[in-house]
Amino acid sequence: MRRAFVARLWQSLIVVAVVTAISFLLIHAAPGDPFSYENSRISIAQRDQLRAEAGYDKPLPEQFVRYTWRLLHGRFGYSFPHHAYVSELLAATIPRTLALAGISLLLSFLLGMAVGVLQAARRDGWFDRISSSVLLVFYSLPDFWAALMAALVFAQWWHLLPASGMTDPMHDYMPFWRALGDRLSHFVLPCATLTLLTVAGIARYQRTAMLEVLPLDYVRVARAKGVPEKSIVWRHALRTALAPMITLLGVLFPALLGGSVFVEKVFQWPGMGLLAVSGIESRDYDVVTATVIVGSLMVIAGNLIADLLHAALDPRVRA
């Protein structure tokens, strides 16, 4: 088991190295650079001077070697558009993204599993049919469109929730309870959008897993012994049907991170996704490469944790 874990770590390092190289090359291949911003007062000569000062006039292989060297020393570089070190920007934005994605993931699992179990328990009943159709609609919605519609309906038309941001600009001036309410109200739309888009997949998975477990012998024995149906479903069958969901956790976390890029953009949630998008738009080389590296690290970490949990729960995997 330990050997397999070490091997996975080495694989992960290779993946990160490849991802770094690809993202570095791709963003440098795109037209423009951090100094081609829209300021007509900056002359061509001055733009070239700034490029030279930042080292962007050097051949690409040299730039890549310099970047890798810096990275190995723990330096992600400097963001010229933000006038800040990339490590500072990541330190500020990663917790916001993790909070959004993490809470959405938790809610998606709770809701998805509950729906999946109920669907399986009442297979082909009205709840199974209606909820499957509704969830299919959510599942098929593009994330950016769903986010836009949510903002349009709940913020612009009905004025129920704030349209964007993490807090109101006046947040620091609010008393405690109002500030808490403000923070929660800003959380609702982005979190609900991410949750609803993910919950269908989880419910489907849970339903299938439950349908595989419910006909098993030990469930039949429990029924024969007169164990109440609720207890059979929620205590006995669900426990067995949880194992595949752990694997799903490892797969869904990266997907949720990807989805949060769009949701963060639409709701102006100042997380790593928004940072990455603004980095791409402004050709902020160091920011784009750093967010891709951190994103890939999160994906790898998610998968590793899922593997470890799976192994902890299933002795066959440990062997």
Binding site: S36, N39, P81, A163, G165, P169
Partner: protein, 564 residues
């Protein structure tokens, strides 16, 4: 000197009339209130020597002062129309080769220290030192030096006597505190943390900036020019559609450029209204005189002035204006925006005449084929239009132009690109022309004729101040612009400028489409005086919120944030 020169005469007039306006801007409007402003993006730079993007320029105008403020008519001749800011008064030397500015003794930096002549001298160095690489530096080349006569008097010495030498100092130069920024080497100013927490002398003070989230400014209640009416400003950078939603729901109070395709929602809104926000920009379809990315080979289509003229005659500029902007649009009159000193609405442009356009293409060898499209020596009359897809008006114009070109047998394709790609391809590099056939571009020149020189004279190709991105060159134009810049007689200067504009119009390097207009989204509880063309934020200290229209956020006052 036997007679008084015009600059001296104008400066005397300004001393008598202009300097007495110091207190004119103080209003009786009620103080208090909080404003949330949706800005187009985070400011790129907060140090005035670098700030040039829209958001950075707005913050600069709120936090920093010039020595004198240009008049609302943007007159650049002598010191006519300029009103005092940090300089309480100024005195021209008898030969007009130097100007002594007396600093207002009441002026203080936001950290409480006095503004001195040494700060003025430092500011000039920060703006012109090559290591700082300020984009303003090439515009200050006529200033020879700045000396400190005493603690409150800074003297500017000029290399040549020029009509716009006062404008060069007063308009281009913002004054920054030496004791704050002087410790940072010029080549580190751009990346220094010091420039992220600006200290100025403007009527608002910097409080806090969280990138991508918001910037907070507060009224400088003891400001030498008077307390601003509003207490607090919060600048947030939503994307345009989110910003529009915030304006329509009252979450934000002001947005300078409300999305043009959503303006009708302002008309029906009870929360917000639309308001003209003039800007000094004009938009055009530029035609590359060279093959893309080349400077040796003339463009096979646009190298011929007859083709350029025919294409210009093929488009209904007025109809397109109506189509895109409705009643709000302003037609383009030439290589300048209206509202500037040299602007001239009488320049003769090729008139809309599709029959004449077709005949001109016929006579220049571009004949119609069976499919109705034209070609010459086997080469089809086909070209691409480079457009930034984020610009809604330019995207709409591209479609309309495409349709009208098609009618006379020219096939135009639309290349929609993101902003960075657009900039990369539309700006020439080294000895290469821009990477486009035609480009839907917009220029925002300085108010002086020198701005025209940067954009359309041969001197603007390459060089430190080069912004002649269309690589247009004509010696007649160069000479006329030089004469306009050097003339001390405003009438003659305008006549020279007109000659240059007419020559450019006759050469048809571009089709002049429209003067850029913005419609601001403004919360109905705000009282906003007409916005200035040189910057919407310049008179923001005079905006107010009537007491009976205030809402919850207007009551936070000047108190510090709640402690939690």
């Amino acid at each position: 000197m036997s007679k008084l020169n015009p600059v001296l005469t104008l400066s005397l007039a300004a001393l008598i009339f202009g300097c007495s306006k110091t207190d004119a801007r103080r209003s009786d409007s009620p103080t208090g209130g909080t404003l949330i402003i949706a800005i187009p993006g985070d400011p790129i730079d907060l140090f005035p020597a670098f700030a040039g993007d829209q958001s950075g320029a707005a913050v600069r105008d709120l936090l920093f002062d010039r020595l004198a403020l240009i008049g609302p008519d943007l007159g650049t001749f002598g010191d006519t129309g300029f009103t005092p800011q940090l300089a309480k008064s100024w005195t021209w030397s008898p030969d007009s080769m130097s100007i002594a500015f007396s600093i207002d003794p009441k002026a203080r930096w936001h950290d409480g220290k006095s503004v001195t002549a040494a700060d003025v001298k430092y500011s000039f160095r920060a703006f012109t030192d090559p290591k700082a690489a300020s984009p303003v530096a090439p515009l200050l080349t006529n200033i020879d030096s700045v000396s400190v006569r005493d603690a409150s008097t800074a003297v500017f010495f000029f290399k040549k006597r020029m009509p716009e030498q006062f404008y060069d100092v007063a308009y281009q130069l913002y004054i920054v505190p030496e004791h704050v920024y002087g410790k940072v080497p010029f080549d580190s100013l751009r990346t220094s943390d010091v420039t992220r927490t600006p200290v100025g002398s403007g009527r608002f003070r910097f409080v806090k900036w969280t990138p991508d989230v918001q910037m907070e400014l507060i009224a400088d209640t003891a400001n030498y020019r008077g307390r601003p009416n509003l207490d607090h400003l919060f600048l947030t950078p939503p994307d345009p559609l989110t910003g529009a939603t915030q304006i329509l729901t009252g979450q934000a109070d002001f947005m300078q450029a409300f999305p043009i395709d959503h303006i009708s929602e302002l008309d029906s809104s009870k929360v917000a209204r639309g308001m003209a926000a003039p800007v000094s920009q004009y938009a055009f379809l530029g035609m590359n005189p060279y093959v893309a990315k080349s400077r040796r080979e003339p463009h096979p289509i646009f190298g011929d002035v007859r083709v350029r003229r025919a294409l210009s005659m093929a488009v209904d500029r007025t109809g397109m204006l109506q189509n895109v902007f409705g009643g709000l649009g302003k037609i383009g009159h030439g290589p300048f925006p209206m509202g500037q000193t040299a602007s001239d609405s009488t320049i003769r442009l090729p008139s809309y005449d599709t029959a004449a356009a077709a005949a001109m293409l016929d006579s220049s060898g571009w004949k119609r084929g069976r499919d109705g499209m034209r070609s010459k020596n086997g080469r089809p009359l086909r070209f691409a239009m480079l457009v930034p897809f984020r610009s809604v008006p330019r995207m709409k114009y591209a479609s309309l132009l495409q349709e009208q070109f098609h009618r006379i047998g020219a096939l135009a394709t639309i290349e929609q690109v993101d902003t960075k790609t657009y900039l990369e391809r539309s700006i020439p590099r080294d000895d290469r022309a821009g990477d486009f056939d035609t480009v839907l571009n917009a220029f925002g020149p300085d108010p002086s004729v020198s701005g025209v020189k940067q954009n359309w004279a041969t001197a603007g190709i390459g060089g430190p101040a080069g912004q002649n991105f269309m690589l247009y060159s004509n010696k007649t134009v160069d000479a006329a612009i030089d004469s306009a810049v050097a003339s001390f007689d405003p009438v003659k200067a305008k006549a020279y400028a007109r000659r240059a504009f007419q020559q450019i119009a006759d050469d048809v390097p571009a089709i002049w489409l429209y003067d850029v207009i913005y419609v601001a989204g403004v919360n109905r509880r705000l009282v906003v005086p007409p916005l200035r063309m040189d910057g919407w934020a310049i008179n923001l200290a005079d905006w107010s919120i009537p007491v009976d229209k205030r809402i919850g956020r207007d009551s936070i006052g000047l108190a510090p944030p709640a402690k939690r």
